[in-house]
């Protein structure tokens, strides 16, 4: 049933994950402009929001929204890449109200702006702290292809190369676990 | 002339004795409450200070006396320190008409019951001042609750007491006691069971004891009206609470339980035994029940106690007229 949701979105990449290996069912890359629409569609499907976090990688901040379903368990990770220079995203807190706090937490830790979050003040960190502790230093950042467990890509936008190790060419079929060792 | 002088001396001596009695009983009650709480909760309670912890209340009192008296910023210092005094001293006067024994009464007043009820009203003022003057929001909320609660619960209390007054035709506590017999079936509780229950519930409400301890509801208002009090300021409220408990239980004993009379030899010991049994029940309630909510508290009063007390009073009046 999740496929029908993804079909309605202009996704960058839809991949089916191996649950036994990663604990995820779906991994979906979206452009920032699609996230609110995706949240609305998932809300209609009666999904709930597990959490929001970000990963600081070479390519930018990868914001990860994890959704699940209470009757038909299906963990979906929606991933949105925002550049380090202008980390800005639309907020989904008016769709999933619980997202307000998760976004505030992500803002605390990474400094990512969620525009139209109703109350984007520090949540867990002191109000007068201007450090975002989970941001990594330039040298410590890994590239995305090195971090994510390869999974079966169902479809991808042409030119989508986030999951391809930089050394390799564009072809991305379902990779085996052994293949990851070839990563940069 | 001579009569007035002896009466005055009697009152002064009586008040001193009452103050000593209240102080002593405060200590005993603190100990009883803590020990009782311990046993209800299957632990020993105070145990370290003195044998079985009997000196604990004295240690507590010394601690309270030794503590710094602290006035919060922007509080009204006069009202703030007036409140604990106002809560404690009127209580002493309430002991004056209590009939501890056939002759053991500070001052036998014909309007003794009225005197007690009148001075009981002071407590509200004290709690209101304490909450208002301490410049604390919890205190303010606690004071608001205290006023609403005390005012509300005074009415059924009064009506329940009036039923006895109708029945005995007197407001003098000693007279009411003498009209009752020595045996439990000769006590007013038999003829006025409903009034007794209403009185007991209202008394719990009037003294802010659990399950009606809303003005100081710990889990909501931290400590309610006495949040900001330290040392003896708090100690006075504490003592006043226990003294109030003794008074309401004393009145209850005189009205419903035959006062100093009992099987065998009459005397003040019967009175004390009954008062302490009632106090024990109050402690038992406190360590058993959850706290009720504020609107429920008022609902119980206005929708249950008040109509029942009124009906009881009318019924009593009717029966008194008929028979």
């Amino acid at each position: 049933m999740m496929e029908t949701v993804f079909d309605q979105l202009s996704t960058q990449c839809v991949a089916k994950c191996d649950y036994a290996k990663t604990g995820l069912h779906w991994s979906v890359f979206l452009p920032a402009s699609e996230i609110v629409r995706a949240a609305k569609l998932l809300y209609k499907e009666e999904c709930f929001l597990e959490d929001i976090t970000a990963i600081d990688v070479k390519e930018g901040y990868l914001v990860v929204y994890r959704f699940n379903h209470m009757d038909r368990p299906c963990r979906v990770a929606l991933r949105v890449l925002v550049p380090h220079a202008a980390p800005k995203l639309p907020s989904i807190s008016h769709v999933f109200h619980g997202a307000e706090w998760h976004e505030r937490e992500t803002h605390d830790f990474y400094g990512i702006e969620f525009s139209d979050n109703p109350n984007l003040v520090p949540l867990l960190l002191p109000a007068d702290l201007d450090v975002h502790p989970l941001q990594k230093e330039e040298g410590a950042r890994a590239s995305l292809a090195d971090l994510l467990t390869p999974c079966e890509v169902l479809r991808a936008e042409p030119g989508f190369d986030l999951l391809t190790p930089k050394a390799e060419e564009e072809g991305k079929k379902a990779k085996t676990a052994g293949a990851e060792a070839t990563g940069a | 002339m001579n009569g007035i002088a002896t009466e005055l001396i009697r009152i002064v001596v009586g008040l001193v004795a009452v103050a000593a009695f209240v102080g002593l009983n405060g200590l005993v009650l603190v100990y009883a409450e803590r020990k009782g709480a311990g046993h209800f909760q299957r632990r020993p309670g105070p145990f370290e200070v003195g044998p079985h912890g009997v000196i604990q209340p004295i240690a507590d009192a010394l601690k309270l006396i030794g503590k710094q008296l602290f006035t919060p910023d922007n509080a009204d210092p006069y009202l703030f320190w007036l409140a604990p005094l106002l809560s404690f001293f009127p209580v002493l006067l309430m002991f004056v008409p209590l009939p501890f024994g056939p002759v053991l009464t500070v001052w036998e007043v014909d309007l003794g019951l009225l005197l007690i009820l009148a001075f009981a009203g002071f407590n509200v003022l004290a709690l209101l001042l304490a909450g208002w003057a301490s410049n604390n929001k919890y205190g303010l909320l606690g004071a608001g609750r205290a006023v609403a609660q005390s005012v509300a619960y005074e009415i059924p209390l009064l009506l329940a007491v009036l039923a006895i007054a109708f029945q005995t035709g007197s407001l003098n506590l000693s007279t009411i006691v003498t009209q009752q017999g020595s045996w439990p079936w000769q006590w007013n509780i038999v003829t006025q069971p409903l009034a007794f229950i209403i009185y007991l519930v209202s008394a719990l409400g009037e003294t802010n004891r659990a399950p009606f301890d809303l003005p100081e509801a710990e889990s909501e208002l931290t400590a309610g009206f006495h949040t900001e009090y330290s040392g003896m300021g708090f100690g006075m409220f504490f003592l006043a609470e226990y003294a109030n408990m003794i008074v309401v239980c004393g009145v209850c004993t005189a009205l419903f339980l035959g006062g100093w009379k009992g099987p065998g030899v009459d005397g003040f010991w019967w009175y004390l035994v009954k008062v302490y049994a009632l106090l024990g029940a109050m402690i038992w309630f406190r360590w058993t029940y959850p706290r009720i909510r504020f609107d429920q508290l008022l609902n119980i009063n206005w929708k249950w106690l008040l109509p029942l007390a009124t009906l009881n009073l009318l019924g009593t009046a009717f029966l008194m007229k008929v028979f």
Binding site: - | H39, F40, R42, R43, P44, T288
Partner: protein, 191 residues
């Protein structure tokens, strides 16, 4: 009908208050379940499974010396950095011996300098930082660390929880050597 039913229902509900009093009253009369600590102590059987702070295991030969070979695995394994182990230094040579070695080296001979003994000279442990996870115990190559069953540990300052475990081991050995003098509590603290 309904309001009347409700009325009687409310009256009947009051019975639960009596039931509550019965229960607390029943427990009021029963024995306590707490243990009067300084006078009584809990079943020592329970202590045996308690993992208190860590302690050193004595070597089978000498009860005053630990098995430890000061490999410092525990130090690097500890997530909280609460262990400090100082290796023993090689024995100090007398000037004559040093001269002899120098002479031998000058002659081109291979000299074997006396090596440091494989035992710690200091074994410090800061219990106030420890999270009792057991990572050091699992990392230890010679099983020289174990959990003690010390339940009654108190102190008035943070320094009271900085233990010198070598001293503790020595005092334990002493006590077991002279059982007549042994005290119930074996407590060693850094001076």
């Amino acid at each position: 009908m309904n309001p009347i039913k409700k009325f009687f229902r409310s009256i009947a509900d009051l019975w639960s208050l009596i039931v509550g009093l019965q229960i607390t009253g029943k427990y009021f009369c029963q024995k306590h379940v707490t243990v009067h600590y300084p006078r009584k102590e809990i079943d020592p059987e329970i202590n045996k499974t308690y993992r208190g702070h860590i302690e050193l295991v004595a070597s089978p030969k000498d009860p005053a010396k630990p098995k430890c070979i000061s490999c410092l695995m525990c130090v690097s394994a500890c997530p909280s950095g609460c262990i400090t182990v100082v290796k023993s230094k090689p024995p100090k040579l007398s000037p004559e011996e040093e001269q002899a070695i120098k002479d031998a080296e000058a002659r081109g001979e291979k000299v074997k300098k006396p090596s440091a003994p494989k035992e710690p000279s200091q074994w410090k442990y800061d219990f106030s930082l420890c999270s009792l996870c057991g990572t050091c115990i699992e990392a230890c190559a010679v099983d020289s660390i174990r959990f003690s069953h010390e339940l009654y540990v108190v102190g008035t300052s943070r320094n009271d929880f900085k233990y010198d475990l070598l001293a503790r081991l020595r005092s334990q050995a002493e006590k077991s050597g002279h059982p007549a003098e042994s005290k119930p509590e074996a407590e060693t603290k850094e001076a």
